[in-house]
Symmetry: C2
Subunit: 604 residues, 2 copies
Amino acid sequence: MPKQYFSLRNLKFTFQEVHNAQEVTKHPHFAHLDAEAMDMIIDSAVQIADNILAPCAVEMDRQHMAHFHDGKVTVHPSVKKYIKAIGESGLLAGRAPLEDGGSQLPEMLGASIAFIMGAANNAITAYAGLTEGSANLIRTFGSKTLKDTYLPKMYGGDWQGTMCLTEPQAGSSLHYITSSASPTGEEGKYKIKGQKIYITAGEHDQTDNIIHLYLARIDGAPAGTKGISLFVVPKLRPENGQLVPNDVKTIGIFHKMGQKGCPAVHIEAGNNDECFGWLVGEPHKGLSYMFQMMNEARLGVGTTGACIATTAYYAALEYAHERPQGQSLNIKGQDPNAPQTLIINHPDVKRMLLFQKAISEGSLSLVMQGSQYADKIHTSEGEEKEKYQLLLDFLTPIIKTFPTEMGQQSVSSSLQVFGGGGFCEDFPLEKLYRDIRITTIYEGTTGIQSLALLGRNITMKNGKAAMLLFQEIMKDIEASKTHEDLKKYANALSAKLGELQKVTQHLVGFAMKGEVERFLADATLYMEFFGIVVVAWQWLKQATVAKTALITKSLEGEELRFYESKVHTMRYYFAYEIPKTQGLATRLLDDELLTISVENEILV
Amino acid sequence: MPKQYFSLRNLKFTFQEVHNAQEVTKHPHFAHLDAEAMDMIIDSAVQIADNILAPCAVEMDRQHMAHFHDGKVTVHPSVKKYIKAIGESGLLAGRAPLEDGGSQLPEMLGASIAFIMGAANNAITAYAGLTEGSANLIRTFGSKTLKDTYLPKMYGGDWQGTMCLTEPQAGSSLHYITSSASPTGEEGKYKIKGQKIYITAGEHDQTDNIIHLYLARIDGAPAGTKGISLFVVPKLRPENGQLVPNDVKTIGIFHKMGQKGCPAVHIEAGNNDECFGWLVGEPHKGLSYMFQMMNEARLGVGTTGACIATTAYYAALEYAHERPQGQSLNIKGQDPNAPQTLIINHPDVKRMLLFQKAISEGSLSLVMQGSQYADKIHTSEGEEKEKYQLLLDFLTPIIKTFPTEMGQQSVSSSLQVFGGGGFCEDFPLEKLYRDIRITTIYEGTTGIQSLALLGRNITMKNGKAAMLLFQEIMKDIEASKTHEDLKKYANALSAKLGELQKVTQHLVGFAMKGEVERFLADATLYMEFFGIVVVAWQWLKQATVAKTALITKSLEGEELRFYESKVHTMRYYFAYEIPKTQGLATRLLDDELLTISVENEILV
C-alpha cells in the first residue's frame, strides 16, 4: 500500500495560506478556537485516519464489504470504532453550534477533517457524513423534544442518521415521491408508509439505532414538491424509555461497483402499518429543509471527489518514483546495455502526474473557497452576509461537479501510471477508480447540477450572484499582478472570464426569449467551461501566495520545492487545461440544434 | 438485461456500404466467398453470440469468475462450448489461408465476427483471440513439424494459445526480458527458464492443453531487443504420442477489476529444469515475429473498445426509452400534476446518447477502415500493396487508441444515463465500465501507441504513410461534396486536416533539430487530435453513403430512420467532438516546457 494518502502541508497551505482561515477565526463566532486548538483538531483527525480508517480501507472493499442476509446488514467492525471515535472527539458535532453541544468549527476546518478522513477511506466517511447531516436537520428544524431525543445519541456516534429521498419511481425528480404520512391524532406523530431506495448506511450492525430523515406526503397534501414533508423515522422508536421496533424493514441491498464498505439499501416503512414518524418543522416544507442537508451533502461529495483523486495521485507519484521501465527518449535507438529509467522520467508520465496534481489540489482549493464563504456567512452581517450566501449558493453545483467529473479523469490517469498493475488488486487504484464513479451521480447528477448552475444560479437575483463571483475573481487577478511573471496568467484568466461572459449572454438570450429548452440544452458543457475557469482562478490564487512566499521568505529544501511546485502546477493548468474551454465555447456559441427539435427516433 | 447488444444493420452498413466489402471479395484471393456465404458466416457468429456468449456474460463476471486454487484455474464451463463451437465452425481459423486448412476470410469479415462476439461477451473472446493469434504465429514462422503438431489442435479449439511477453521487470519495455533458453543439443529444442506475468488465458480447465508463445533469450544472445527469440512452450508437451507435463507452473492469478471471466496468470517455466521450448523461426528474431501478432492484437483491442461502447450504448438507449423521470424543461415551473416524461426527452440525455452513438459507430467504422486496408494488401500488388500496408501500419496505433480511450468515456456516459442504477449490479453497465478500463493498457498503453504514431509512423519512409492517409481522406472529402449539404462538413474536415499538418510540422521541427524528447513530450495529445480527425473522416464517409441512399432510394420506416440517423450523428460529431481539437492544437503549438527540462522534485 502507498505510504502517503494526502499532504498535510498542502492542506494547511490551502486553508491557512490561500484561504486565510486565521482571519475567519479572529471573529467572535469562532473565538473559542485559536491556531493551536485548530492544529490539535487536525491532529486528532489525522490520528483517527491513520489508525482506524486507512488500515481497513482496502479490506472493507475486497474482503469485508457490506453484506445483506436475512434482513440484516453486516459491515466491517471498524465502522463502530470510527463512529465512536469521532463522536467522542466532538468531530461529529463539529459544525453544530456551541449552544447545542457542538464544537462550532469553521467550515474550512470541517472540510479539512472530511478531506483527511475521506482520503484515508472514502467509503467509511459516508456513515459519519450522513449522521452529521441528518442530525443537523433535526437541530435546525426539529422541535425541542426531537432534539433532546435524537441529537445526543447521533452526535455521540451511538445512532446512525440517513437521508431517505429516492423512491423507485422518483430519483432526480423528487416531485413524484409517494411515501405517505397519516395523522395519528397525536401532534406531530404520523403513520408512515412507503419504500425508499439507495439509502446509504440505511441498515447495519455498528450502531444501536438508525434514524431516517424521511420525505413523505401528509394525506391530502398538494401534488408536487410543495406537498412534501420531512419526518424523523427511527428504526427503533424510543417508547417509555425503551427502544421498540418501528416497522422499518430492509428488503434488499444494492450491489455497488464501489464504496462497498458502506451499504446502500432498499427499505420499506409501514408494511405492517406500525411505522411512526415525527414531523420535522412545518408540514409541506420538507423539501426545502432537506435542501439544507443536500447542499451540505453536495459540498461533501465534491470533497470526496477531491479526496479520492488525491489518494490516487500520491499512489501514482510513489509508484512513478519506484518503477523502472524503458529508457529516456533522449537515448537514440535505445542502448541495449543501459539500465532502465524510472517512469517518472518519461514526459508522458510526468504530464499525467501534473494533471492529477492540478486536478486534485485545484479541487481541494475550490472546496475550501466554498468553505471560506460558508464561514464568512457567520462572521458578517447584512449585505456582506447576503453576498457570501449568494457566492456559496452559486458555487455549490460547481464544487459538486468539478472535483467529481475531473476527479474521475484524474483517478483514471493515476491508474494508467500503474499500467497492468493498476487494473489489478495488487494496488488500490482499481478500487479508487470504482469508488469515485458514484460521485457524479450522488446528490444530484452532473446534469442536474448543470441545470442548477445555468438555469437557476446564473439568473438568480438578476445575475447578482454571478456578478459577485466575477468581482471576487477580478480582485484576485489584480492581486496576482503584483508579481511580474504572473501577469501573463492573470491576463489569460481575465480573457477567459470575458469569453465566459460572452457565452453566458448568448445562452441567457434564449432564456429571455422564453426558449428554455434551448437555453439549457448544453448546460453540462457550460458547467465544464465554468469549472475550468473557476479552478484556474484557484490556481492563480495559489500561485500568487506561492510567489509571495518565494520572494519574501528565505526558503530551502522541501519548503522551497513546495512553493515552486505550486507555481509550476499553475503553469501546467494554464497550458494544458484552460485551452479545453476553446472547443466548449465554439459549441456553446454554435446555433446548430442537435438534441432538441429532433425526434427520439433519430437515435437508433 | 438489455434486449440488444449490437446492431446487425449498422454492422452491415459499415462493412458493406461504407467499406465496400463486396469489392474486396470479387478478387480471386477471396473468390471462395460470395455474398451469401458471407451472410451465412455472419449468421453463425450471431448464433454463437446469442446462444452461448451473451447468456453467460454477466454470470462469468459476478458469479463464475476465473478462480485460482492449488495451482489450478477454473473458469465458466461456457468457455469450452464457445471454443469448440468456433473451432468446429471454422471461425477460429478464419484468417488462416485455405492451404493451411483455414477459411481465408477477409479481415472485414473477421473483424465483424470479433465485433459481434465481443459485444455479446468481451471477456470470453480473449480466449479465442489469443488462440487464433498464437496459432497464426506458428503458421507464419514455425517449421512444418511445429505446424503439424499444434495447428490442428489450436484451430480446432482443443488447445488454448497464449502470448507470453511481460515479465515482472519488463512490460512496456520488452528490451529487458530475462527468460532464458539453453540449447539441448537437439535442433530447435531448448530448455526454458523464467517467469511471465499477466498471461491472459494462461491457465484454465476448458481446453486439453495450453500453448504458450514465449519470448526468451538464447544463452549468449545480444542484449536488448535484438537478442530475443520466440518459442513454443506447451503446458503439456507431446512426447511419443502422449502429452507429458512440461514444467510450466501457474504460481498466481491477478485479481482484475474487469474481464473477470478470463484469467490473467503468473507462470513460471522451468523451475524444475524440465521445461522445453521449440524455437519458432530464426534465433533473435522473436520480437519482430511477435509484432505480427501484436499488431493484430492491437486491432483486436480497438475492436474490443468499440464492442463494449456499443453494448453500453444500446443498454442506455433502451433504458432512456423506458425510464420516466422529471418533466420537460419546457414546462415552466414544473406542473405538479403532469406525468413524468421519458428521460430520452431530456436534451442532456439525448446529447449523451448521441455521444455514445458517435463514438461507438465511429470506432467501428475506423476498425473496419483498417480491416479494409488489410484486405487490400491481399488483393493488390507492387506499389498498391505497399500503399495499403503503410496505411494499415500507420492507422494501427490510432485504431488501438481511439476506440479504447473514447470508448471509456462513452461507457461512462452510458452508465450516467442509468443514474444510481448504473453503479449497481441491477444493470450490466458497471461491469462494462470495469471491463473497458484495461483496453488502454493491453498490448501497449496509450502512451506507447502515441509514441508509435508520432515517433515512428509520422516520419516513416519520409512521411510517405502520412501523406498516403491524407490523400485517402482528401479523396473522401471530395466525394462527399457531391452532396450540397455535406459541403460544410467536408470543408470543416479539410480545414482540420490543414491544422493537423501545421501541428505535425511544428513538432517534426523538433525532431529535425534532434530534440527527441521535446518532439514526443505531448505525443498523447497529438494522438487525441489525430484520432478525432480520423474519426471525423469516418463520419463524413458514413454520411456520404447515407445521403446517397436517402436521395437515390425510396426509403421509409426503419430504413429511412437509419440513414437519417447517420447524417444526424455526423452533424453531432462535427458540432461537439471536432471542436475539442482546438484546445489540443493550442497546447501542441505552445512552446512552454512543463514536462521536460524540469526536475522530478517539481512534483510533490
